[in-house]
Symmetry: none
Subunit: 541 residues, 2 copies
């Protein structure tokens, strides 16, 4: 049986750009457009030509699309002139994109108060604007702003706006829940009423916002009712609480019933398997820490903590996983924690390449150690590499690469020769490799002369000269640093988690705990280096 075609429309570069604190550079826009096209998205909205210099420049040299249709966004013609003579609309048309989406009013109240025109004049403006686009050979879409509120206030008028656009030749009309307040059940009912009024489902799109946490569900409800184009953004970017998250919608539509059997999209299985990477790319562009619990692609999305769950997982992964994580390019994690049992522990050790026989008394000792250290503030379910080091030490499988003799960090704020106040840190690390003593010193200034602080200086000094071990750690870098005070008040203990990365793309986390934040950091840094040496088979001293 042939499947129905469902179209995916991305507005990361237009609506996603409305996210508070987000300002895409030109390079960002090219990178995102490229990733969307590679993924297999049908429509990519690039922005509003003329709205700001970056958008204008982006359309002047539009990205080349392999699969997707590139769109410009604008608004229907203003009152008192024809579509052909509206210079704002002309700016959008002149961007020369194969498709154009125009937003217009469909709520009677907004037409009369915000636009200050009659209801009929607005319908005529929609028709004139859309047929102008069609006359120029463009694929035209009408984005019906405030559609759901408009429909509730005056259904006949809201529908009249849609039909005017369709009769003018619009390929699609899109129902936009502009303020994000419409709940899924209502989206279903109204979308159904729209189709019953004669709007074909394969010319109908849905555009939701996440103000009630239901943007994804609202999109699905519209698809259930018959809409065949769905709009959203990468990672749910967008004004206020964001738009529908395409990264969440795509696997649901491709992998879950009733959608998987019913629809085909432009996204292949290979594209789907790159989804986690596309989501990370978006975070990288924004320099954001990825949201761990994001559906499908989050680092925790397939992490199983409860002891009860972890042992069932080992028997049958489908018990606690609704899909296979590999399908979206993600991976299963069975972390350590005080909830975990021995079966969980053995699985975790096996993942790290450590085989321990069932019933080995070392398992009990490791579990007790993990529990004791977690109650002292350590957190091994985030710091897998530290867990591995702890286990290997307990099992007598941790080679001694080097021994720390001492370290010293000096942090100071003082006036420099120019009389400016500066802060600066300097770290000395003294260690032994076999019977050879090595002293390294580093300071905390980056190439621009900014102070990066004591942990940075210490990290550099530690990794500066490990003699014969140096080639093994040359490509490793510190990529994230998290601090948490685990007990409030003066008896506070500081937990530091350090994420490291190497040129092979491996990423690992280590933990340190101390009342002294510098010492906690040093512990985590040390284990990060140890793990890298261990993993790459560096020689013991």
């Amino acid at each position: 049986m042939s499947k129905e075609r469902l179209y995916l429309f991305d507005t990361t570069l237009r609506d996603g750009q409305q996210t508070q604190g987000v300002q895409f550079s030109l390079e960002d826009k090219y990178e995102i457009a490229q990733a969307l096209d590679d993924l297999g998205i049908d429509y990519i909205e690039g922005g509003w030509p003329g709205a700001n210099p970056t958008d204008s420049e982006f359309f002047d040299k539009a990205p080349e699309m392999r699969n997707a249709t590139f769109l410009a966004f604008g608004m229907t013609k203003r009152a008192g002139r024809s579509a052909a003579n509206d210079e704002v609309l002309a700016g959008v048309v002149n961007a020369g994109t194969p498709a154009v989406c125009l937003v217009g009013k469909s709520h009677d109240f907004h037409v009369t108060t915000a636009l200050g025109v009659t209801l009929d004049e607005n319908v005529a403006a929609i028709a004139d604007s859309l047929s102008h686009l069609v006359g120029l050979g463009r694929e035209a879409m009408y984005d019906a702003e405030h559609f759901f509120d408009g429909y509730k206030a005056n259904p006949e008028y809201a529908l009249a706006c849609l039909h005017a656009a369709l009769e003018a030749g619009a390929r699609w009309v899109v129902l936009c829940d502009t303020n994000g307040g419409t709940l899924p059940a209502e989206i279903y009912a109204i979308t159904k009423a729209v189709i019953d009024s004669g709007v074909p489902g394969d010319r109908l799109g849905i555009h939701t916002h996440n103000d009630t946490g239901n943007a994804v569900a609202g999109s699905l409800a519209a698809i259930d009712a018959g809409a065949r184009q769905v709009q959203g953004t990468l990672n749910g970017l967008g004004e206020r609480c964001g738009n529908a998250n395409l990264i969440t919608l795509i696997p649901t539509l491709l992998l879950k019933e009733p959608y998987a059997s019913r629809f085909e999209t432009g996204i292949s299985r290979d594209g789907l398997a790159r989804l986690t990477r596309v989501s990370r790319m978006m975070d990288d562009v924004l320099n954001r820490v990825p949201f761990r619990s994001a559906p499908y692609v989050g680092a925790s999305a397939f992490a199983h903590k409860a002891g009860l769950h972890a042992s069932a997982m080992l028997k049958d992964p489908s018990t606690y996983e609704h899909i296979d994580p590999a399908l979206v390019g993600n991976a299963r994690i069975i972390p350590m924690s005080n909830q975990a049992g021995q079966s969980n522990l053995r699985k975790r050790l096996a993942d790290a390449g450590i085989e321990v026989a069932k019933g080995d008394p070392a398992l009990g000792r490791i579990l007790d150690l993990v529990k004791a250290r977690e109650s002292a503030g350590y957190s091994y379910d985030t710091a897998q590499a530290s867990f591995e080091i702890l286990a290997r030490r307990e099992l007598g499988q941790l080679p001694s690469f080097f021994r720390i003799d001492r370290y010293r960090v000096v942090v100071e704020r003082r006036k420099n020769r120019l009389g400016e106040t500066i802060s600066l840190s300097e770290a000395v690390v003294v260690l032994w490799i076999g019977d050879e003593k090595r002293l390294s010193v580093s300071e905390s200034l980056d190439p621009s002369g900014s102070d990066r602080g004591p942990v940075n200086a210490l990290s550099r000094a530690l990794a500066k000269d490990l003699g014969p071990l140096q080639p093994y750690i040359e490509d490793m870098k510190l990529v994230d640093f998290k601090v948490r005070i685990t007990n409030g008040g003066t008896e506070a203990v500081t937990r530091v988690i350090i994420d490291s990365e190497d040129s092979a793309g491996r990423r690992w986390s280590t933990v340190g705990v101390s009342a002294n934040i510098v010492d906690a950091s040093f512990e985590a840094l040390l284990e990060a280096v140890q793990w890298k040496l261990l993993r790459d088979g560096a020689p013991a001293a």
Copy 2:
């Protein structure tokens, strides 16, 4: 017309504790339970007595509830013994809570493979366990694990499990979508079928997970179908992608139709207006950066960025806001609206005893400064004392008590005379009071000889000898210290918040920001001392 009662069930302390990286301390558990009770939640699940030392200790001294019913979680009796003779179940019962929720199987496949008992034996175990609780006078709930998958595999059997629990006297049976894979439309249909089978809606609960981004929508679907208890967690904490977010569900149920007219809950309008604060409290406990785009309570949830939107907002807020943000304790942000900003600012200054005339140009300068510094990582909402110092400096109302010349902190780890590894910090602060130079030095060891770290040493050195100012700061002490990395990655900036207290019981918070954590701490310490001198009228030098 009287409203139907809808019950809210919080499982932050049990299922929320399954969040990767989350480990509640005993103090955390009391603080969260208190906040939930104050909010008006009906049921608060405290954990699983016996599962780990913290949970056991928590139940040994259970928090006192003003409104809520406190619950322990456990599982139905194991095979081969009676409910009365199951020591795991006894551990749960012995916690002595007024209500108990027991998880049990309802999916035929899991019964035979995971439990290894017959289908009838499992039904009998459910009945025996629940009637055991009822016999002891407890309010009993049955949590049907994997219910939706179980129903799809064998509807008769899944329903038989529910009915066995009800007939045994369970107050509630709860449909649990354990692996989070059931979509809202299916949750609606199956919940409806459950009610059609004779389970009364007012004895039926729903427990969803967010693996497809639909936990909130799935909960609403079950309520639409007739369920009258809804389970979730604060900020959607929970294993993998989390549970249904109560912070999102509550305002939808209280403010939006069809729910607002139809239901009453235990949450008052006052409780609802504290919702944003409750969400922040949860983030504070976990030392997490609040999620800006969280529905209803996020800092961006009512932020209007688009020029088009912002000007429409000024005409009529309902255009782009589906609810009034004040109802949930949140606030509107309109970047261009300086007017609203200035009146807020005057109110805040007046709170600090600083009167500034309306229209004073200093107001605009202070607003700009706060904005610039907040985008650099400062947070003046939490650090009111630092805000006051910033405003007074800009208004020329900040006396100069002393001037810092320089400081230096040395942190070291080395062997002591006994060959033990120790860590130690030493701080030197040099400052001027008038034309008198003062050098102070302190170390980080507490009376027991434990290292309290560099910030502790610095704090002691700064407060050690302020000459004529010393009597003013003698009674002040550092009571809390919070660290947050405000930008992930290597370009991370550290924000330090320090809470101080004096013998008059005053408590104040100051903030410092720097890539250098010691320098950020020094800035916050310095402002803590300045505020105390200011407040107690110390003489300027």
